[in-house]
């Protein structure tokens, strides 16, 4: 799991998915409004495409964030944690 952090660039993936989700979210609402005002005959297919993009990017975003969080946590644990405090430093004993 920690190796996943090296293989996948989670920050870039999350950024792209968040941007796509944001655009689809706004576009979908706008198309729904236009559809409601003009009976939706000409904009309905576009609305469906936007809805599919919105749902897929939202699911992808959630999965990416979860996997990134879990991989980061496991990576920290595997590395012993950067903030581990050694109460008894016995490195001097080896010198004598």
């Amino acid at each position: 799991m920690p190796r996943l952090l090296e293989r996948v660039n989670f920050p870039k993936l999350v950024t792209v998915l968040a941007a796509i989700f944001g655009i689809a979210l706004g576009a979908c609402g706008l198309t729904a409004l236009v559809g409601a005002r003009f009976n939706g005959a000409s904009v309905l297919p576009l609305g469906i495409v936007e809805l599919v993009v919105m749902v897929l990017s939202a699911v992808g975003l959630l999965i990416s964030l979860t996997v990134w969080g879990v991989a980061s946590a496991l990576g920290k644990t595997a590395a012993g944690g950067p903030d581990t405090i050694r109460l008894f430093d016995d490195s001097d004993k080896t010198k004598s």
Binding site: F10, G22, I23, L25, L30
Partner: protein
């Protein structure tokens, strides 16, 4: 009256162009002037900003249209709430992105100020996105109140309105010029001046928009006031800590 009409299809096009342009400007600035953090940390900051911005913009966007949102909630129309038109706001995006970045920086122990590199890209990106808001016309919630001024725009209903989107584009271009990297500022100051200026601008310009009011202002204006208050508290803390450091520094010299 200047005829513009309402073309909502252009909104996502210009919104996407805004992201692309903002990112291109960011890359150019980062390559030219360097960065205070390394690339993996920068991308983590960008990811936090993006996720926080999406959440913040949607939450405040839906809250801004609270009568519609409340009616949809009461009727159990979650789909209508989810797809409510417009439903995103730059103020929510900026505040959400800013808070998310601060949280992630705290978790990752990043102590440098990271927002300065975003200032010019944000100004340019938002300005490009606002062209889409202008072209979307009545389908977007960013149009102004009726006016008889010679530069009033007609979004297709025969009513002359304030082109508030154009006002904002001009404001952002002026702000980008004032806060250009040519102007020397301490680390982090550029972003805070940008954020404070934009929030103050939105507090003022939103009086020209026909939005539902709560105690005399719309929810975006209240969010702006809260953001300005938070910036004020942070500035006070900075000043306080700088004053505390000063005697110790003076004693050493």
């Amino acid at each position: 009256m200047i005829p513009v009409g309402s073309h909502p299809v252009w909104h996502p096009v210009f919104e996407s162009l805004g992201y692309v342009t903002g990112y291109a400007v960011f890359r150019r600035l980062r390559a030219g002037r360097g960065d205070v953090i390394d690339e993996p940390q920068r991308w983590t900051v960008i990811a936090a900003a993006a996720v926080g911005a999406v959440l913040g913009s949607r939450l405040l966007g839906v809250a801004e249209q609270w009568p519609t949102a409340l009616a949809a909630l009461r009727a159990g129309h979650l789909m209508a709430l989810l797809l409510s038109p417009g439903g995103k706001t730059i103020v929510g995006g900026l505040l959400g992105g800013w808070l998310a970045v601060e949280v992630v920086k705290r978790v990752m122990d990043i102590r440098r100020r990271t927002g300065d590199l975003f200032v010019i890209p944000l100004c340019i990106g938002i300005a490009v996105g606002r062209i889409g808001c202008l072209l979307a016309g009545l389908a977007d919630d960013t149009y102004g109140k009726p006016t008889s001024l010679p530069w009033a725009v007609n979004f297709g209903d025969g009513v002359g309105r304030h082109p508030t989107q154009l006002y904002e584009i001009l404001f952002l271009l002026a702000l980008a010029f004032i806060l250009s990297p040519l102007m020397a500022l301490p680390e982090g100051r550029r972003f805070r001046i940008f954020l404070g200026s934009y929030l103050a601008w939105r507090t003022a310009i939103d009086f020209l928009k026909p939005q539902p009011l709560v105690l005399g202002m719309n929810l975006i204006q209240w969010a702006c006031v809260a953001g300005i208050g938070l910036l004020g508290v942070l500035a006070w803390f900075d000043l306080h800590s700088a004053r505390r450091r000063m005697p110790a520094h003076a004693a050493l010299t």
